[in-house]
């Protein structure tokens, strides 16, 4: 029977299933851990006198809580410091590899996993973080879990799961070269169209010529935000681009083993005639840069348009209309305002969505030789130490700093403001992250999600600009 890629990975990992229940027990090939969602899980193991079943398949890093300033200094926030220490102690006690705050491989968990070659096609991958969907870019089934499930995976290396539906999103057409529109705009546009619950109960497979044309980093941006469309996971079938990315990465399989695996990985694609529960096609030929205006990622418009009225946004849905009214009030915006008239106070280029080398290269090209507006405070937070080092080799740090950006150490930083990088109430931020919920970047903070080049241009202009005309 013709199977989708999701069907194949699912079937390959069943340890146990029971006709009395919708749930199957699946084996987990890779478990990523960070400091925020793991302490209680390790406590649970200790209380019940259990060990970690497969420490060799488990990798940890610190990212959410770490300061992005000088790491040789002690962490000022005592509580953050305790949480980071707890992870260090737990990894030591249970024998888990940890890329700690001083490690040359430290960074945001969904940036370091792929760049270290720890994420492989066909794997089941989990982490106590909803953006685990990022790793689906490699043709793996990757999704976020809660702390209780983290404890379950640590103890058993398995997870009880209900099979999701298959949802196919086909991206037709292609973005015109060098006009400043990127994969971030594509995924924002997808979420805008399907809504924040459009992918609920589903695993999304992204297909089409556009997807095949993308680099791995660009695929990761798309898969990363699958969760914002309600989907548990997002997948792209692996291909030569995937295999070449993985070749030679530090922990990638090597030599003959790698070549043999490529032969297996070539089978990781949906069969012709495979059935999907839902199909959605978008033509992206004339896609404009996207900007979110509201308090969830579906509240998005084209940069060359205006803030919509609640009625226009909600199209007859009462609850969505109420959400839009609330969002406009929180964001201090009114219908009819031109997006390119909205001034900003802060710019954040970072996060597991857009803090990889290609993102930084694109952003740097928009600011070279220019200066950050005097009304804006802007920062760049590379996704990992490796990204930071590579960027510095290319001189990107100098380009950003000469333009007036702060150049920081890697971590989640202002995506969610658990460390000191937060917005003050009322501050408006152009951000390359993935969520614009109320208070996400700081209580009362106003987040607008955009691509790296849009954020960089906004820093210079002091307001949103249409990068297609600007560059």
């Amino acid at each position: 029977m013709a199977q989708t890629l999701y069907d194949k990975i699912w079937d390959n990992h069943i340890v146990y299933s029971d006709e009395n229940s919708d749930l199957s027990l699946l084996y987990i090939d890779r478990h990523y851990i960070h400091e925020v969602t793991s302490p209680q899980a390790f406590d649970g193991l200790r209380i019940n006198k259990r060990r970690v079943r497969r420490p060799d398949l488990t990798f940890a890093t610190v990212d959410h809580n770490v300061p992005t300033t000088d790491r040789s200094l002690p962490i000022i926030d005592q509580i953050s410091s305790l949480q980071i220490k707890a992870l260090e102690n737990n990894c030591k006690e249970f024998g888990i590899s940890l890329f700690d705050i001083h490690d040359k491989y430290q960074g945001i968990v969904h940036v370091i996993g792929p760049e270290l070659g720890l994420t492989l096609p066909g794997y089941t991958i989990v982490c106590g973080d909803s953006h685990t969907s990022t790793h689906g870019a490699f043709g793996s089934l990757a999704f976020g879990i809660g702390t209780s499930e983290v404890e379950h995976v640590l103890a058993t290396q398995c997870l009880w799961m209900k099979k999701s539906k298959n949802f196919e999103i086909i991206l037709n057409g292609g973005l015109k070269n060098n006009n400043g529109v990127s994969s971030k705009d594509v995924i924002l546009n997808i979420i805008r169209k399907i809504g924040t619950s459009g992918g609920s109960g589903s695993v999304i497979e992204y297909k089409g010529d556009y997807i095949s044309s993308l680099s791995m980093e660009k695929r990761m941006t798309i898969c990363n935000m699958s969760i914002e469309g309600g989907a548990r996971a997002g997948l792209v079938a692996p291909d030569d681009t995937t295999f070449e990315y993985l070749r030679g990465k530090i922990f990638s399989p090597k030599n003959e083993l790698f070549e043999d695996l490529i032969d297996d990985w070539k089978n990781l694609r949906s069969d012709h005639g495979a059935k999907y529960d839902r199909t959605f096609s978008i033509n992206i030929d004339n896609l404009a840069p996207q900007v979110t205006w509201g308090t969830n990622p579906a509240m998005t418009v084209d940069v060359d348009s205006v803030i919509p009225s609640p009625d226009d946004y909600a199209k007859g849905n009462d609850e969505e209309k109420k959400s839009a009214i609330k969002a406009l009030k929180y964001m201090d915006l009114k219908p009819g305002i031109q997006i390119t008239d909205i001034p900003i106070d802060r710019v954040f280029i970072g996060s597991c969505t857009n803090a990889r080398l290609e993102d930084l290269i694109e952003a740097s090209e928009a600011v070279k030789g220019k200066r950050v507006s005097s009304s804006v405070k802007a920062m760049v937070v590379p996704g990992s130490q490796q990204v930071k080092t590579a960027a510095e080799k290319l001189g990107l740090d100098k380009i950003f700093m000469n333009a007036g950006f702060e150049w920081r150490e890697p971590g989640c930083s202002m995506c969610l403001g658990m460390n000191p990088d937060i917005l003050k109430a009322g501050e408006r931020c152009a951000s390359t992250s993935n969520r614009n919920f109320e208070g996400r970047q700081g209580t009362g903070g106003r987040t607008h999600l955009v691509s790296p080049i849009m954020a960089a241009a906004a820093a210079i202009a002091g307001k949103f600009v249409d990068v297609r005309e600007w560059i």
């Binding site: 925020v36 969602t37 060799d56 702390t147 058993t156 290396q157 990638s252 969610l416 969520r435």
Partner: protein, 202 residues
């Protein structure tokens, strides 16, 4: 985990759709190391003003609604971050049941891991609850999968395994470890000794 017991309570009506987990429990409270004590931070930014004073109109601050064990909400509750702290906050505050039209997948799962019952009901029924039932006692009967309000009765769906986990309160990990031989069989068949990671050198 304590087994779920049928309960009778009035509801706290939270008449807002698309509530994300950043609202349920803001990030500054994710730095805590335990599973308890989050109740006072539940819906923090809606519950307290800039000076830490409880706001007059937010439902959790209305004295007549205190002590109610059921949260009534709309569509798409619990979207966003996977933080299980959101469930810990709801549970610690005192909610044992959440009723709404739809829920985010990860949040839904997290609730059942903590013995919190989540009931999905049709949009029209939820609308009726908000308009005319917020002063009534809801009698939640998990075994019969019914909510009884006065003389009316509403059925709800629930996966049998999730229902069983709530009724028995069994530790899920113990249950899984009973399948040790199947897990080992999977590991042996997939020849993990030569899996790529065995080449990882740290």
């Amino acid at each position: 985990m304590e087994p779920f017991r049928n309960l009778t309570s009035k509801v706290v009506p939270l008449d807002i759709a698309n509530i994300d987990t950043d609202q349920i429990i803001p990030k500054q409270f994710l730095k805590l190391l335990g599973k308890t004590g989050y109740g006072e931070y539940l819906f923090f930014n809606w519950r307290y003003d800039d000076h830490g004073i409880p706001t007059k109109t937010f439902v959790l601050n209305l004295p007549e609604l205190k002590g109610r064990q059921i949260l009534l909400t709309r569509e798409n509750f619990g979207i966003g971050s996977s933080r299980e702290h959101a469930v810990w906050a709801l549970k610690d505050y005192g909610f044992k049941v959440i009723i709404g039209v739809s829920f985010a997948d990860i949040f839904y799962n997290n609730c059942f891991k903590n013995g919190v019952l989540v009931i999905k009901l049709d949009k029209n029924i939820i609308e009726d609850f908000f308009s005319s039932k917020t002063g009534e006692e809801f009698d939640i009967d998990l075994s019969h999968q019914q909510i009884r309000i006065g003389s009316s009765s509403y059925s709800f769906e629930i996966d049998p395994t999730l229902k069983d986990s709530l009724e028995s309160g069994t530790d899920e990990i113990s249950k899984t470890l009973q399948l040790e031989s199947q897990i080992k069989e999977y590991e042996d068949e997939n020849n993990l000794a030569v899996k790529p990671d065995s080449y990882a050198i740290l």
